[in-house]
């Protein structure tokens, strides 16, 4: 997996440099105009925000039940990436909404629960950094709550009619909008995999350093 990190980062960087050209070539959406172009970065960031919660939740289950150090490292990595992609989603969304809806924010179920998920990731990261002994299990429990949030966030726009578009929008996109969108999605996904791998490696090495210091203290 480590071997794939460098090509993935290089390829995603190249694709993200090409992306503005493709986005510029895409036609303007008839009702929203130019501001709709935020969608090409907002959608991949939002999906990877939810993927982070799922990865963090599954890794936390593995850590809680099988005590795998590697699972804990993956949970730490995905929580931090959840913070990054959550910030991208929660900043690009209101910038689009202000122009398209006339407001920066509405307290509808999707936006509110997305903010709650972001706060869960923030709490997880703070707990792991400053929580001390035992915080790993508490944080893993918190990650499960984060994962349970994901289906709710996804289907909320279909259950309650709000200002946010429904999930049926993306599958029915015309090709000229779909090409730049899926291109950006592929670039973001490769970046996500590479960063997840790098951050998990960092967490494993930090755990190894702590173990070495403990050995030194005992010797």
């Amino acid at each position: 997996m480590r071997k794939l990190t460098t090509p993935f980062i290089g390829l995603s960087a190249g694709m993200l440099f090409v992306a503005p050209w493709l986005i510029n070539m895409a036609p303007f959406e008839s009702t929203m105009g130019l501001v709709q172009k935020i969608f090409y970065f907002h959608f991949p960031a939002a999906i990877l925000f939810l993927v982070s919660a799922i990865v963090c939740g599954i890794a936390s289950i593995r850590f809680l039940f099988f005590k795998k150090a590697s699972a804990d490292a993956w949970a730490i990595a995905s929580a931090e990436l959840g913070l990054l992609f959550g910030a991208l989603t929660l900043v690009t969304g209101p910038l689009w909404a202000r122009k398209a809806w006339g407001v920066w924010w509405v307290w509808d179920p999707r936006l509110t629960m997305s903010l709650v998920l972001f706060l869960i990731f923030a709490a997880y990261t703070i707990l792991r950094k400053f929580g001390g002994p035992g915080s790993d299990k508490l944080a893993a429990g918190m990650a499960l709550f984060g994962m349970l949030n994901v289906p709710f966030i996804y289907v909320s726009v279909n259950i309650w009619r709000t200002l946010h578009p429904m999930t049926s929008v993306v599958p029915t996109l015309p090709t000229e909008f779909g090409i730049p969108l899926w291109f950006c999605f592929a670039a973001f996904t490769m970046l996500f995999i590479a960063l997840l791998n790098l951050r998990a490696t960092l967490a494993l090495q930090q755990a190894r350093i702590e173990a070495l210091y403990l050995d030194e203290d005992e010797a």
Binding site: L16, I38, L84, V91, L195, L198, L202, L212, E216
Partner: protein
Amino acid sequence: MRHWLRVCVLILALGAAAPALALQPQPPKEFVPVDEVPPGEQIPAINMVAAAYGFVWVAVLGYVWSIARRLKHVESELSDLESRRK
């Protein structure tokens, strides 16, 4: 008699207030699309798009830089510790 006097005073007061009420701007009767609000209240779309893409680039590059810096630091610390143990 006093009752009728009060009613007359109220009618006169309302009549005096009528010009002031007529000067008040009328509230919008229905939804006004963002593009139709006065120019002073509009934000150009290009500013929003530039801010969104700018934020994404800064955040992603900042995070990549942060990961690279932390990895470099941890790897040097790890090699120091391992060489000390030998």
